[in-house]
């Protein structure tokens, strides 16, 4: 029975409108998955060399053990944000003659089909089998393999449980993040060291392989707990929708923008009240920390301005990219209504421009904290911000009018390629090309700072011309309106 249900899921994946209509997209997803898998396997097989290379003279097994719990701690956070709850999958079966226990089992098994279940196996198993197996024998490595499997299962079902709980009760969400923050802080301030802890734990497993049964017990406990929770809350309204009462909200601070404020309020509510845009924006917040990646001392002292600029554009434009790549498509399921309502196209477009500009401005102010690293970053961040509000925003609206693919707001975000099309790829590409086209000539003719100045000044000029752009974009929108309307209606 469960096999039949899983078969239905397989069909639903391949026959879903989002995947089915676009062969190129299927091939692309296939490549991405293959690539990620290959990278993970490669990493797994070369882990011993990487470790002995980066930590010469140390016991690489102990260092490896130190990483394991770290990985699973991050795993919990990433899973929490990205992992979907496959609950609606049971809807058609609720009234059929299938026992509730079977459906719970089906949900549990169905949820395991996720990249997160595979990654740790690829990463850890090669090392355990090749290095530890050779050194400590079969029993020890077998025991460790069992530990890895158990930990993966434990995390998986723990996150499912916590996520379902947070849907029912917002306090779980706050509690979850507080716990994560506390743990991270305790580790950061060296109140305790997760790495030492992890290393000690698995070193003990080497000595006493039978300890793996404790790991199994934890995994089973997580599975049991999740199943019990599912059995007791097996009603659609409990599974999918939060039972809390929905209240009207008003963003009174938006009122000063008049009707633009109302339209922006609409966009903000769209983001806050729907799964996919909400998790995308949450991810963008995390990307704000990407600065540490780009703004390394060697880049700042070595005047690698191009890299600093790319980083700055990325940070100040992240929100814009996340929301802007589906600018109009987010509203696809009520686009008919918007277009027939008493609002002219120009007003609508202008509200989008103001929204994108505000996103970038907020990110810019947050990013100013990076100036603490070096004053050099200030002019670069400023130029990047001007580029984003002056040029990037216009491009975003322009490319938005070329996007005719509908988006279902209720679906989750991870590995959700619905609504992705050529327009999105052009979009990411265009920003880079346009940025490089402005920066490079000046950087090569004069010096890198001239390139930065060109980016900033052209951005500012373009921003001051916004009204002129607005007329052009309105015309562009009017020309593509019917295609968008038709595309958005085909769900």
């Amino acid at each position: 029975m469960i096999y039949t249900l899983l078969q239905h899921q397989w069909k639903s994946f391949w026959r879903s409108r989002a995947t089915g209509r676009n062969v190129a997209m299927q091939i692309f997803i296939g490549f991405i998955v293959l690539y990620l898998t290959a990278v993970a396997i490669l990493l797994g097989f070369s882990l011993d060399k990487i470790l002995s290379g980066s930590f010469p003279g140390k016991d690489i097994v102990r260092i490896f053990f130190g990483f394991i719990l770290y990985y699973y701690a991050f795993d919990i956070i990433i899973r929490f944000i990205l992992q979907d709850l496959p609950t609606l999958a049971v809807q058609p079966y609720l009234t059929q003659n299938i026992k509730r226990n079977k459906l719970v089992q089906f949900l549990n098994i169905r949820s395991l089909f996720s990249i997160f279940s595979l990654l740790p196996l690829f990463l850890f198993l090669p090392f355990i089998i090749r290095v530890i197996g050779a050194k400590y024998g079969v029993m020890v490595s077998l025991s460790l393999v069992i530990c890895i499997f158990s930990l993966t299962f434990f995390n998986h079902f723990l996150v499912l449980f916590i996520k379902r709980k947070t849907i029912l009760n917002q306090w779980w969400l706050i509690g979850f993040f507080m716990a994560i923050l506390l743990l991270a802080a305790a580790d950061y301030f060296q109140i305790f060291s997760l790495r030492n802890w992890s290393a000690d734990l698995f070193s003990t497993v080497i000595k006493i392989p039978a300890l793996c049964f404790i790991f199994i017990a934890f995994a089973i406990a997580a599975l049991y707990n999740n199943s019990k929770f599912l059995r007791n809350n097996f009603y659609l309204e409990n599974l999918e929708k939060s039972s809390g009462e929905k209240r009207s909200a008003e963003f009174s601070w938006l009122q000063r923008f008049g009707v633009y404020g109302d339209l922006m309020g609409l966009d903000l509510k769209l983001i806050l009240r729907n799964k996919r845009p909400r998790s995308l924006m949450l991810l963008s917040v995390i990307f704000l920390f990407y600065g540490y990646f780009f703004f390394k001392p060697e880049n700042i002292q070595g005047n690698n301005l191009a890299i600093l600029l790319v980083g700055s554009i990325f940070i100040t434009g992240m929100f814009m990219v996340s929301y802007g790549k589906f600018l109009f498509a987010w509203q696809s399921n009520h686009f008919d209504g918007l277009m027939a309502s008493n609002m002219n196209v120009k007003t609508y477009i202008k509200s989008k421009l103001i929204l994108l500009t505000s996103f970038s401005t907020v990110a810019f102010f947050v990013s100013l904290l990076y100036v603490l690293i070096s004053w050099k970053l200030f002019p670069i961040l400023l130029a990047a911000w001007l580029f984003n509000i002056g040029i990037h925003s216009i491009l975003t609206v322009f490319i938005g009018t070329l996007n005719y693919k509908a988006i279902d707001l209720s679906k989750g975000s991870s590995f959700n390629y619905e609504g992705m099309g050529v327009a999105q790829w052009i979009y990411s590409f265009m920003i880079l090309v346009v940025g490089a086209a402005i920066y490079l000539p000046f950087a090569l003719l004069f010096n890198s700072w001239a390139g930065i100045a060109a980016i900033g000044i052209l951005g500012l000029i373009s921003f001051l011309m916004q009204d002129w752009w607005l007329d052009k974009l309105t015309l562009q929108f009017a020309n593509h309106k019917y295609k968008m309307l038709q595309g958005f209606r085909e769900k």
Partner: protein, 230 residues
């Protein structure tokens, strides 16, 4: 009010709408026809949501595809695509009100007239529009049309999802709007009893063509029933 000239729209070579000339003016005008007759496509053409292959729709002397003035006096509800699913009904009403320059107090006052129609399940329901039933979503859509204080109102199959009490109330409301506020209403339906009861003029559509244009009389219901039985 609305004039249609040589309007043609086809999908993949199949004609969806083909109307050489039609005047839609005063009164309550009904549109009937089997599924696929082109009723909804015609409505979308009137609202400039679909691009015509040929011809034009003229509303108060301006082509709807060239000039946006019609939006200020035309209100429509065709399907859930006209509602914003992640808003509460109140938020949606205030939003529509704002687009039509109505203050919150105005909107509240207009909504209080609809208390009976809402039957206690729309306002303060603690739900987003996406969580309402189909029928209640329809009520929200119709109420949003009324809020706009339109001169022209377009409703696609408004009776289909409503319970009997609400159907009767809606018929009463439509008649009253036309009599007291002189709102012109274009409405489609599969319910021949309702449509002959409420409309002063009925258009019968078949394969994109208006094949009958009837001033409603006591014989109309039989005439329509004969057509659909055949």
């Amino acid at each position: 009010m609305i004039t249609i000239n040589n309007l043609v729209k086809s999908y993949n070579g199949k004609v969806a709408v083909d109307i050489p000339h039609l005047e839609i003016d005063k009164g309550i005008i009904g549109l009937v026809g089997n599924n696929g007759a082109g009723k909804t496509t015609l409505f979308r053409l009137l609202l400039d949501l679909v691009k015509a292959d040929r011809g034009e729709v003229v509303s108060n002397e301006n082509a709807v595809s060239k000039n946006e003035d019609w939006k200020s006096y035309t209100a429509a509800y065709i399907d859930e695509g006209f509602l914003i699913p992640y808003l509460t009904p109140e938020e949606y009403f205030y939003f529509v009100g704002k687009l039509n320059n109505r203050s919150k107090a105005d909107v509240d006052e207009m909504l209080s007239d609809l208390t009976i129609f809402f039957d206690g399940s729309i306002l303060k329901s603690g739900k987003y529009i996406r969580d309402l039933s189909k029928g209640n979503q329809f009520k929200v859509g119709i109420a949003a049309c009324l809020l706009q204080n339109p001169e022209m109102m377009i409703l696609d199959e408004p009776f289909a999802n409503l319970d009997p009490s609400s159907q009767i109330r809606l018929i009463h409301m439509i008649k009253e709007l036309n009599e007291k506020k002189h709102v012109n209403i274009l409405v489609s339906s599969h319910d021949l009893n309702n449509i002959t009861d409420v409309c002063t003029r009925i258009l019968l559509m078949e394969k994109g063509v208006i094949i009958k244009d009837i001033q409603t009389s006591s014989a109309t219901l039989n005439e329509l029933e004969d057509y659909f039985r055949a």
